[in-house]
Subunit: 408 residues, 2 copies
């Protein structure tokens, strides 16, 4: 375990170094190192493969991604997010509808013997953007304060919510079909309401309560109070998110949005470091664990089956092309629409969670998601994850150049 952690950290930094030298974001290097380590069993070294299911590393990785989203959220405020809120929502809706439809189409085309429910399920796995990768690329490139960055991150939060609503509705419809009835609108509405109440409530309450919370914390005399208070806030909001059925990272991001530098003036005033400075070392320890582990979960031998490869290929294409609909929603003067579309590409945990839920669902005894579909979803997650860092870097630089020319 200790040795594994040491190997992962060392590998992450070596991979990050190579990526940076190749002018790519460090996260790409961490993912590739993970892919290499996780597939060393193909050449006889099975030790790292076994680690991919290690619960302790999984916990560290999970805390790592929470802290990353919290850190990214810290760099914006709720007010700044509300400014892009309408655009982000439009981007999110387009970016959910298009991949959902395309994924459904791919299912109908390649899996004609499966039911329409399977096809709908396949579409649902394509809806939610995995904001971790994009957030990390934006961080690596120092672009988190860009308007486009806020739109992408805001839209990723919204499409996570929409994706969960679709999942809940599709699963409810299947369950009802199994019983020979149809799903009640009330049950469907409940999912939507819970998610909406959480987001609006967390942001409103958080903004009202957090100054008071940090004011009280500033009176405590124990060492390390500021970081502890910030992390407690982050973990509680993340837990609330998961309690209403959203991904915990949505909560962590919301927590980061709520907190502002002014809240810890009492601490920084007496010479303490700010929350961003305190969180950074924790992040630089735990975040690479998440990305290396994500890389390690990639099975290169899964790419060896030609039948599945077609499904995986078309599904990936649907995922990438579908999210480009987001660009249409990114209205605004001098908007870098291409970057918004590309930033929304990566799919991650939520897609995989959907797929694994599907593995457990049956309709009249037939599984909604079988092994072939599951492998295709995993491949889609991998490819979208790996293509985003270089593509987004390219498009952001292109956008900056275009803007630079436009302004001279």
């Amino acid at each position: 375990m200790l040795l594994a952690l040491a190997a992962i950290l060392a590998g992450a930094k070596l991979g990050g170094d190579v990526a940076v030298r190749l002018r790519q974001p460090a996260v790409l290097g961490e993912l590739v190192v993970g892919v290499i380590l996780g597939n060393l069993d193909l050449v006889g070294v099975g030790w790292f493969r076994a680690l991919t299911t290690d619960a302790s590393l999984g916990i560290l990785a999970e805390i790592g991604v929470l802290i990353l989203l919290f850190e990214v959220g810290l760099e914006s405020t709720v007010r700044e997010m509300l400014k892009v809120g309408a655009v982000a929502t439009l981007v999110a809706v387009l970016g959910v509808v298009a991949p959902f439809a395309l994924g459904w189409g791919v299912g109908a085309l390649l899996l004609p013997d499966h039911s329409a429910y399977s096809h709908a399920f396949l579409g649902a796995t394509l809806t939610a953007t995995s904001v971790g990768i994009t957030a990390r690329v934006l961080k690596d490139l120092g672009k988190t304060r860009l308007g486009e960055a806020r739109i992408i991150l805001g839209a990723a939060v919204v499409d996570d919510v929409l994706g969960l609503v679709i999942l809940a509705v599709v699963a409810g419809v299947i369950e009802a079909a199994n019983l020979g009835t149809t799903m009640s609108y009330g049950a469907a509405a409940l999912v939507v309401v819970k998610a909406g109440v959480f987001l609006a409530g967390a942001l409103a309450l958080g903004v009202a309560l957090s100054p008071r919370l940090f004011g009280l914390a500033a009176r405590l005399r124990a060492p390390g109070v500021l970081l502890a208070t910030a992390l407690v806030f982050c973990f509680v909001v993340a837990w609330l998110a998961s309690a209403v059925g959203l991904a915990p990272i949505v909560g962590a991001y919301a927590a980061g949005l709520i907190l502002e530098d002014v809240h810890w003036k009492a601490f920084t005033g007496r010479g303490e470091r700010s929350v961003s400075e305190l969180v950074q070392p924790v992040a630089s320890f735990l975040v690479p664990v998440f990305f290396v582990l994500m890389g390690m979960r990639v099975r290169l031998d899964a790419f060896a089956h030609p039948a599945g490869l077609a499904l995986a290929g078309l599904l990936t294409l649907a995922a990438i092309v579908g999210k480009q609909a987001c660009a249409l929603g990114a209205v605004g003067r001098r908007m870098d629409r291409l970057s918004v579309g590309i930033g929304m590409i990566p799919r991650g945990e939520v897609g995989l969670i959907f797929a694994s839920i599907g593995l457990g669902l049956t309709l009249h005894g037939e599984r909604i998601v079988d092994e072939a579909i599951y492998t295709a979803v995993v491949m889609m997650v991998i490819v979208t994850t790996l293509v985003t860092p270089p593509a987004l870097k390219w498009s952001l630089e292109r956008g900056a150049r275009a803007r630079g020319t436009g302004e001279t």
Copy 2:
């Protein structure tokens, strides 16, 4: 899990605040909060009790205590430790022999129906100082660079080694007695040699290699390289320690000793923060998890049995009085001998590990350590852990006052 982490962190800081207000080290507050949370099941709230066996929290706590020892080790160098090496070894030997003899005596007195092997085992559980508590108290009071602090920490490393040797020898003797033979001197010697080679080897090799390691690391271009390199170094040495049968915290402390500020001149020269500054936020997140969890493992209802209470009481007395033999070894002008003796009092994981190994050993079908003995050992660990913070604070302040008077 997230909520548990948030509750533990919040509780730790609140408890720490109360302790600091009562002029006690913050760690005492964290332990007491842990005791309260862990025993809430006595008033019907069983949630926290269930957390004491949570593997994820256990991992975070374990990394926390490693990072604490690493941090404490960073504040001294190998050269400074070697200066106190002879005294520390003398202190350690006295602090192992006396409690071992007293513990054996308590066993012979109160458990006449058990074999001499059980009594020896009881003595062995008293040998190893749990340096985590003392290190934390010294840190809370800002005394880690004191000569006495180095002696205590060095002696704690040495007595850990001696304790493991005794355990291995006692266990070997029991095993041999079971087979009707006696233990080979070769097997006993191997344990000693492995531990000695590790300590000497790690310190010598570490001092030689670490400048080169950080020199190479300074060339890497990924973000967060310095902290990652330091943690990798810490984890690898801790793993090596556990690989030779020592406690991982011994390795983490050795790793901290080896590293010196001069190693990361290349990093700090270009404006990056030093390892101590980077490790501190990570520690302030993970270290309280360890201490709160240690407090939570205390069962207050175990104190309700009068028969066990006598054994526990005498064993605890043996543990505390026995370690005062250390004071005899703390030779040197103006040495604060009382603080050295008190600093060596806390027993922790190693004692518990010994006891649980004893639970699994049998001699002619009879268990070497039964439930009553185990409970007594757990109580001894709890009491020594709880009395040390206030006692050490008192004696260090007394020592500082005495010195102050002597110098004017």
